[in-house]
């Protein structure tokens, strides 16, 4: 399986309070990879490192098979980027933004850009500084898509947008991806949004990659178990025990990852009783994953 993005041992420090450590990302080509993490976890910093805006302290990065930041111009020509905050020049009109961007991208698709301007109902003569937040979000997505990228790097692209605009933006994105089989790397703290569109997920917390797995595994593998009479020392478990806390009497609540039904037998082996298995939705799974990571000292 070829990788659109691959990092090994990536490290970066910003002041004394924040650092990325030993970041190993594997984004399969053609996937929609959701990069989840709470605010301040390092998602934007990671993206800026990936695209060569920042220089890593250690580690290596390969994007579309090219090393970064050395291959930045060639990679950026094939990568559409929507940053967290608006980056387009505020005094330029929508039309001027399109002309400016087209001048730098040889693959610019003018006809499709025009279609998107109409679909997004953008006023061509209006300066960026007079656009609403939603219109700016749509314009940023438009310029990223119309350059016909192989890779789209989207940093919280729908954060703060109303549901209608969010739907427009995501529709355009999904339409492009389905037609061109592009890879999408999208960061967000909006778990449910990623749940709908992504097939891979990476979870970042405090500059460390907590988990990286197919979305299906992430969604189906995290469970809440109600267990009675469990011994205090467990030894090896067939699943990953993320959390364990007493609830009432001799019962405990366990949060586990990698759960499969045959694992029920494990409880008989340790003299415990499994009372209940509850599916967690992605957001609950995400929260439990972070909690267990933090309880373990953030590795």
């Amino acid at each position: 399986m070829s990788k659109a993005i691959e990092t090994r041992g990536l490290a970066y420090r910003a002041g004394k309070s924040f650092e990325l450590r030993e970041l190993d990302l594997n984004v399969p080509a053609g996937s929609m990879y959701g990069f989840l993490g709470p605010n301040g976890s390092g998602k934007t910093t990671t993206i800026r490192l990936l695209l060569g805006f920042l220089k890593a302290r250690a580690g290596r990065i390969a994007i579309l098979g090219r090393p970064m930041p050395r291959g930045a111009p060639a990679v950026l020509a094939r990568t559409g980027y929507v940053p967290e905050r608006p980056h387009l020049y505020p005094s330029l009109t929508v039309d001027e933004v399109l002309r400016f961007h087209a001048a730098f991208h040889h693959e610019w698709d003018r006809a499709w850009a025009d279609e998107l301007v109409a679909a997004f109902r953008l006023d061509r003569e209006r300066p960026v500084r007079r656009l609403s937040k939603g219109e700016i979000g749509k314009l940023m997505m438009l310029v990223a898509l119309a350059q016909r990228p192989e890779l789209l790097v989207l940093d919280e692209p729908t954060d703060g947008l109303d549901p209608v605009v969010r739907r427009d933006v995501l529709t355009a994105l999904l339409e492009y991806v389905s037609q061109h089989h592009a890879t999408v790397f999208v960061s967000s703290h909006l778990v449910h949004e990623l749940e709908r569109i992504c097939d891979w997920v990476g979870v970042l917390d405090r500059g460390r990659l907590v988990a990286e797995l197919p979305m299906q595994s992430f969604k189906s593998g995290i469970k809440r178990l109600r267990v009675a009479h469990a011994p205090s020392l467990l030894g090896d478990t067939p699943f990953v025990l993320l959390g364990r806390e007493p609830i009432e009497g001799a019962s405990e609540m366990w949060i586990v990852r990698g759960w499969q039904p045959p694992m029920v037998q494990y409880f008989e082996g340790i003299g415990a009783t499994l009372r209940d298995v509850v599916d967690l939705d992605l957001e609950e799974g995400f929260v439990e994953l972070l909690r267990s990571f933090r309880d373990a000292g953030g590795a």
């Binding site: 060569g52 805006f53 111009p73 940053p83 005094s91 002309r99 730098f104």
Partner: protein, 217 residues
């Protein structure tokens, strides 16, 4: 690419460039007209004295113009933390060169206005015996001075906050040493020495230390 960058910088500076062009066209026309006596014969000494009063405006406006265009070249990118510029598929040196070249081209507009003003002013003047008109030489000097200030400030602007910080620290250090020097009576004169070097034969601001007269001996 160059046209796109040139257009953005033109849009950001056009109002200031228009005002500068009008002012620079008017500067030689007004100064030469005031130096003369209409149809009467013009006195060489009076002409030189009158034009000398206007002369400082040339280097000052050249420095201001270069500073303005250099500042504007980077200000919008600074506001956006250079994210847009960095996301463009060109090497950084290439984008810097595009920005620098675009600013350089834009600087020509007010300089051409000055040149036309100088040509008009000197062509309609009664140049006294012993004096000559130097519209082309003054324009060239002005162009060079503008480019020197533009280039210096462009580098500072491109260098970002860190370079500005270093420069401010350096200026602060010179002020502190100068005050200490004055109090202790050491006679080091650091500010004077630095100033002399800047406009000295090998100094980067040498072009500013000249006679800025459209009509001179």
């Amino acid at each position: 690419m160059f046209r796109a960058v040139l257009y953005t910088q033109w849009k950001w500076t056009r109002a200031a460039l228009l005002v500068a062009s009008i002012a620079l066209f008017a500067l030689p026309v007004t100064s030469v007209r005031q130096a003369g006596h209409g149809d009467q014969e013009w006195e060489a000494a009076e002409v030189l004295l009158s034009l000398s009063a206007w002369a400082p405006l040339y280097p000052i406006t050249a420095a201001l113009l270069g500073t303005l265009v250099a500042f504007v070249a980077w200000s919008v990118d600074h506001q956006g933390e250079h994210v847009y510029a960095l996301s463009l598929p060109v090497p950084r040196w290439h984008f810097v060169l595009l920005r620098w070249s675009a600013g350089g081209v834009l600087l020509l507009l007010p300089v051409v206005a000055l040149w036309i003003g100088l040509l008009l002013a000197t062509a309609t003047a009664q140049v006294p015996t012993g004096l000559s008109a130097y519209p082309n030489a003054l324009t060239l000097r002005y162009l060079l001075a503008t480019f020197v200030s533009y280039a210096l400030l462009f580098v500072v602007g491109q260098g970002g906050k860190r370079l500005v910080g270093y420069l401010l620290v350096a200026v602060g250090a010179v002020i502190v040493v100068s005050v200490f020097d004055a109090i202790m009576g050491l006679g080091l004169g650091p500010a004077n020495r630095i100033g002399a070097w800047l406009i000295g034969p090998l100094g980067p601001l040498r072009v500013f230390d000249a006679r800025w007269l459209p009509i001179d001996v």
